[in-house]
Amino acid sequence: MILFLEILAFSLTALCVYHSLKYRGKEFTLLFFITGFVLGIVRENIVSQITDLYSYNPSAFTLWIGSAPLLLGVFWSYTIYFSLSLSEYLFDGSLIEGKRISAVILSTMAFMAAYACLNESFASIYRMVIWRFVPDISLWGGTPLLVPFGYAGMALIFLLFIWIISRSALSTSLKLPLMIASVILMVPLHLAWIGIVRLMLKIFMRQ
């Protein structure tokens, strides 16, 4: 069953790449999906090896890169991609053109948070994630309340970097390495975001 889910995720990511190539162009697609892959693998390796947040169950995934399941290389890309696409339609906006960008990003964050509830409760069935802390407030499937905020924060950080770099006057051959290199900023920024949310939840909800 897990292998089926992994194959499904890769196949549906291929559909998203096709859609992006057709409607957004080659440059955006390269920036978005290659950086998304690097971000997923680097971030999940750092989180599972260094932080006290969570690690992945070794028996729950088939293919790995270090401590990160290969699936995580496409996970952030396709979730942010469909959230962004639906949000752009809803608000008649465009990330790259900078049209109604605040509404588009906020809506993408809402989609990501909502998808987090579905995805993490589903992951709990297969015990894909091993939580290393005990939350006071949990959602469905024992998912800490922190998690939907974490998904939303990832969308915010990733889309801001995509927006800044894709609007720069650099050539594609320079934008891509710059975008990939920016992962070393995105990961600590996201961990800082999670730290702040965790602190706020502790203060306001005693988590």
Binding site: L5, Y81, F82, L86, Y89, L90, C117, L118, S121, W140
Partner: protein
């Protein structure tokens, strides 16, 4: 007796596929939701997890309503 295939039929099919291609993000999200609900409900009988799907279902519903509203009003993107 099979219905005959005409150029009009073929054009309608091609137009439908083109419209479907525009909606790939919605199709991808819908497949993930569907697979999740089927596995949770039919395979593992975890009814307690089903409410976790409500937030994303509401957002998808909002998207579909806006899409249908714009189509009936003749808005195109």
């Amino acid at each position: 007796m099979f219905p005959s295939i005409t150029m009009d039929n073929l054009n309608e099919v091609i137009m439908f596929i083109d419209k479907a291609k525009e909606q790939i993000p919605l199709i991808v999200l819908s497949i993930f939701i569907l697979v999740t609900v089927i596995i949770e409900f039919f395979v593992f009988k975890r009814i307690d997890l089903l409410p976790a799907n409500i937030p994303i279902l509401l957002l998808v519903l909002l998207y579909v309503v806006v899409y249908l509203y714009r189509r009936t009003r003749g808005h195109t993107r």
